[in-house]
Amino acid sequence: MSSASQPINQLPKPSILERLVQRHSKLAIALVVVFIIIFVYGMVTAPNFLTLFNLKTIIRDAALVGIMAIGLTFVTLSGNFFLLSMKETAALCIIAFATGMASGWGFELSFLFTMVFALLAGISQGALIGIGGNPIVVTLGAAGVLYGLGAYWSDNLVVSYRRPHGAEWLGTGSFLGLPNITVAFILIAISAELLLRKTSFGRQVYLIGANRAAGRATGHENFWMAIKVCTIASVCSAFVAIAFSAQVSSAQVNYFSSEFGSSGDMTIMVIATVMVGGNSIMGGFGSTLRSSFGAIFISTVDNMMVLHGFNSGPRVFAVGLMIVFSIIVFAILRRGSRSEE
């Protein structure tokens, strides 16, 4: 029996590259390398890819999904999985906003009005999840309810409001050469990351996500956390809904459904973005920065494919492939690194 008092598992400190290769599975590295090769090839051979305009387009296209993904990231990091009701919350909110604008309330009032709905949606779902409801099922049900409410309210018709309506600056305006929506994306991304890293709230998100039981034992209950993160996610959905409505001066419940973008289904895109960024589904690991990069990454691949002339079929396929691919790679990576315990 050893009488050593030296901790056994002290790793010597090799270089970063050595550590990467040491700790992670060969298969994962091979997959990533193959991917990088394909990616660089696509980038180099795509016409007009490396122009400033194109790069700005990439970020702008990533903005709406990116903002929602940032909101959802809080939910995922705290160990509450994800919400399947993001696009339905946006649907209800877009109707709320457009109704306000069409009634002549002006931007600020309509904004606040919309946020009330976002808060209600977030708090109620958060409370149900916090008392122990399974997030998937609760939000699946909530999705149907929210969408139905929005459709009922608008009779499933388009609600439009005339220009000038005071929201152009958000929808189509620009600042220092960047579209305002892109600026909003960048600002939200930065503030979300600061919130996570520098505040005690952010710290609680990570702790509860890493181990809910330990969180409870140290005085951090998931009930309040679930409410808070669901509210953040809903508010982000509402913001995106408002921004999009401002772009097109109208609203209809199905704006965020299958027909949205080439890849369809906003909810899936948002979840995909969170996963592709490398956030752990179980919580406790990841960041909103990762989700932002995930959004930009998916947008880049989509952009490349458009430049290469692909139809929506292959593009949707490519997004799906990226999701599955990143899931598999992260699964292998985490298995490889956790097996030391």
């Binding site: 999985f81 149900l128 008392i131 122990g132 409801g133 399974n134 998937i136 099922v137 609760v138 699946l140 049900g141 909530a142 999705a143 149907g144 309810v145 929210l146 969408y147 139905g148 409410l149 459709a151 009922y152 499933n156 419940v253 299958s258 890849s263 369809g264 289904d265 899936i268 979840i271 995909a272 996963m275 589904i281 139809n311 929506s312 079929g313 292959p314 593009r315 949707v316 396929f317 490519a318 997004v319 799906g320 492939l321 999701i323 599955v324 691919f325 899931i327 598999i328 699964a331 292998i332 298995r335």
Partner: protein
């Protein structure tokens, strides 16, 4: 004698009883508010809809029993629909049908394989495959809505057999019977219940994750394929991005039928009752000229109600168990007191 048996059956399976009563309740609401609801034609329409919804409900029931869920079921069905409609004209309906169902089943198999071998949660993987399959559907359909040119086939699919049934719904009923036999009478079916009811314990007991997982997802793929084929051939058209509503409807059907989100509970009979209930709701609402989004609203509310009922009964059972444990402790105390008369006690 039989009354006793019925009562003990009810006590043993409260979930099924709840589902049954809910189904009955929903049916009655519509039967009394709408003159046409209880007609022969309506019942046939219900059975027709039941065919596809029943399949999806069955597939999701199996997945949830196994402790997972298949979010890609709608996309898988859509792919099958697209394949069958696209290729019927050139290859004939039977061949196209066979290809479509085989493709869907293989997709399910592959998903089950990855979930088992890489120990990925199904919910995570199927978010990706959901997209993947849509892309493939768009590609096969060449980005447009595909249509049949020969409309004798839809007519055949919907011919009435035995008053209420059609070839489609009869096939589905056969499927239900087979799966029920499998789940209840074979070792492999029990393995599926085991890995869902208590995954860690099942693995510790020596059950391999691979076999039951691959079986469950292969069945799920098969059901999605068969369902998509039925819808495609029945209506004569197919859209690559369609059939997404099947996920919500199927999930509601599964939960009404008594599955638990924790896994390990539920059965084929429950799936049938759940699917019928959702169907009654759907058909009834359509009869009352309710728009599709309202149907979604009601389904959402129904799901939340069922979930809250389930959560409530879990809490109730926990409390019951605590009372039982406390009673055991009280018994033990009494016995120990009796033994101690005469023993040394400081």
């Amino acid at each position: 004698m039989t009354v006793e048996k019925i009562i003990s059956f009810i006590k043993q399976k409260p979930d099924l009883m709840f589902a049954f009563m809910l189904a009955f309740f929903v049916y009655c609401i519509f039967a009394f508010t709408n003159d046409y609801f209880m007609t022969h034609r309506t019942s046939f329409a219900i059975m027709e809809r039941f065919a596809v919804l029943g399949l999806v409900g069955l597939a999701l029931t199996l997945c949830i029993i196994a402790g997972e869920i298949d979010l890609s079921i709608g996309s898988n069905a859509a792919l099958a629909a697209v394949i069958v409609v696209r290729f019927t004209d050139s290859l004939g309906a039977p061949t196209a049908l066979l290809i479509a169902v085989t493709v869907s089943t293989i997709i399910g198999l592959i998903q089950g394989y990855f979930i088992a071998y890489l120990r990925i949660r199904a919910i995570v993987l199927t978010v990706g495959t959901l997209m993947l399959l849509r892309g493939i559907s768009l590609f096969v359909a060449e980005e447009k809505t595909v249509m049949l040119t020969d409309f004798r086939i839809p007519d055949f699919i919907t011919t009435k057999v035995l008053w209420y049934f059609s070839p489609a719904s009869l096939t589905v009923i056969a499927m239900f019977v087979l799966v029920a036999l499998f789940m209840n009478f074979t070792k492999y079916g029990r393995e599926i219940y085991a890995i869902g009811g208590a995954r860690k314990e099942a693995l510790a007991a020596g059950i391999s994750l691979k076999r039951p997982m691959i079986i469950v997802f292969a069945i799920s793929g098969f059901c999605a394929g068969l369902g998509g084929v039925i819808i495609g051939l029945r209506s004569g058209t197919a859209q690559a991005l369609g059939l997404q509503y099947l996920l919500l409807a199927g999930t509601v059907a599964a939960f009404i039928g008594g599955v638990s989100i924790l896994g390990g509970r539920g059965g084929v009979i429950g799936a049938v009752i759940g699917a019928l209930t959702v169907n009654f709701l759907n058909t009834g609402l359509v009869f009352n000229v309710t728009p599709a989004f309202m149907v979604q609203l009601y389904l959402g509310i129904l799901l939340l109600v069922v979930i809250m009922f389930q959560t409530g009964s879990v809490i109730f059972e926990k409390r019951q168990r605590r009372y039982q444990i406390l009673k055991d402790i009280d018994d033990r105390r009494e016995r120990l007191k009796k033994e101690m008369t005469g023993g040394a006690q400081p």
